[in-house]
């Protein structure tokens, strides 16, 4: 059974319809990328899963419906969402940010261990552990955002355009570390990205969104390898 099962998902902001009936699923341990141009509705998919937007249709996580649930409750079920804008707390310290990531957990010793582990993955965060998160560079903030999400020990990790605003070299580094971590943790990932190249390298499976509908899906290497598809849907 899939960890995430979505059928006929429709979402709207007030009168503006953004998603027009989306179907997709994510099996445990798999990495799925959601691609597409600006305004296609990719971010809305993540927000729908996080309960941040009103939806219609089936949205199931681990067999249970997420529809109508509050964001905080969805997070408590193990869905870690790194949103656009990162969702970190610039006014709080790096370490406080990480602690907040583990807010719902009660296993204090394990939390401390996890913080150490995050520092292991992202040494630059450890160097700045007492500093305000807002004083970090863009790349470091993105790392913090990912680390914060991992502190939840999530069953599903959702990332919204992690490459946004980052220099290519920083992005490559970020994805390298991300790939390693997800391998190690056997993490289930839903990745929304505009940078199709990076996303297709990272993911196992991919969906392409356009104007609120899925226009293409398939194994990531096949899509990457298919020149025609790449050119028509990804423009390169």
């Amino acid at each position: 059974m899939s960890l995430v099962d979505v059928e006929g998902l429709r979402a709207a902001y007030g009168q503006v319809r953004v998603l027009e009936g989306i179907d997709f699923s994510i099996d445990k341990g798999r990495r799925v990328a959601m691609l597409g141009p600006n305004g296609a509705g990719k971010t809305t998919v993540l927000r729908a899963l996080s309960g941040m937007v009103r939806t219609r249709g089936k949205v199931e996580f681990d067999g249970k419906s997420l529809a109508g649930k509050a964001t905080a409750d969805i997070a408590r079920r193990g869905v870690a969402h790194v949103p656009e804008g990162r969702g970190t707390f610039p006014a709080l310290s790096v370490e406080d940010n990480l602690r907040l990531g583990a807010y719902v957990r009660s296993d204090r010793a394990a939390v401390r261990e996890d913080i150490r582990r995050c520092y292991g993955w992202f040494p630059r965060l450890e160097e700045r552990r007492g500093l305000q998160a807002g004083s970090l560079s863009g790349g470091e903030q993105q790392m913090l955002a990912v680390a914060r999400a991992l502190m939840l020990r999530p069953r599903l990790l959702m990332l919204d355009e992690p490459s946004l605003g980052l220099a290519p070299i920083v992005t490559r580094e970020l994805f390298r570390v991300l790939g390693d971590i997800c391998d190690e943790q056997e993490m289930t990932v839903l990745l929304v990205e505009q940078n199709a190249n990076l996303a297709l390298d990272f993911a196992d499976h991919a969906y392409v969104l356009e104007s609120g509908r899925i226009v293409l899906e398939g194994e990531a290497d096949r899509i990457k390898g298919d020149d025609d598809v790449r050119r028509s849907y990804m423009g390169y």
């Binding site: 007030g14 503006v16 941040m52 009103r54 964001t71």
Partner: protein, 351 residues
Amino acid sequence: MSPRVRTAVICALAAVAVAIPFLFGPYRVGQFTLVLVYAVAVLGLNLLVGYSGQISLGHGAFFALGAYTAALLIEKASVPHLLSVPAAGALCFAAGFLFGVPALRLHGLYLALVTLGLAIALPQLIKRFDGLTEGTQGMTVEQPAAPGWLGLEDDQFLYLLTLVVAALMFVLAWNMMRGQLGRAVKAVRDREMAAVTLGVDLAAVKTRMFAVSAGYAGVGGALYVFAIGFVAPEAFTLTVSFAFLAAIVVGGLATISGALFGALFIEFVPVYASDVNEALTGVIYGGVLIAFMWVLPGGAAGLPRRLRELAARRDRHRPEGPRGGELHEEDADRVAGAAGHAGAGAGGMRA
């Protein structure tokens, strides 16, 4: 409401209004006179809060200022009654302008705080300068007397005089809101930033509006002196400012007729409430303010949209379920929409 129906309604109302002094005894007529007095002041506040989206918790202060101006002019400078009304209005207009220039750089909460301070300060100042104002003991003021040839009683004459002035003020307000100032004010209320791009001088418009509404409160104050014949600082405490606020909330923000309903409310509710219990008036005012905000915040035609701006600046959306996400996008849509409207000219402005 079509113009024909509206004219008919206004004529009917006018007929009723003129008939009142001949239908009731002096006490009742006096109450209705006060209703008209409050209506003028409340209209001023409504112009400011309802149409212009600013907030003032201190209009009682301008009301008091107008009252004392008229009182002093009549008693100490022997100015004829009728002249004291525009004088009070003009002085309060100027005071409102002077206060507005610095104060209107503040927004929302801070402006509320500062105007609250004004409402508290003024009675204290009145008491302090008792050499001029007779302080706590108050000042008796000669009320206008009915000229013999009219064949009216004093209370009837007073009522009709107040009615005439009030009607003038209402017509003036209606005209103003249809004219240039009105359009500018609504532009500011709807989308401040878009209005700036249209060339609206934000500070000037806001200050003018504040000054106008203060002027109205001042005229109301002068009429109040005619009606009561006595001024004392106790008559102008915070309660007055709160009563005006309750009046515009109940009467309907951003409507001209709302001022009348609100004035009826604040004149008659305390009379009946205090029969039951002296605390009841306050309980009703407080309860009404909360209830109206809960049930009918949209009773205000233009207020919600303006306030959404204030809220957007102090973004406090909570992400409980879908509402949080929705509001964000709606705001973005509105900016785009308003910018589109603004680009298309004044077509988006409503009367």
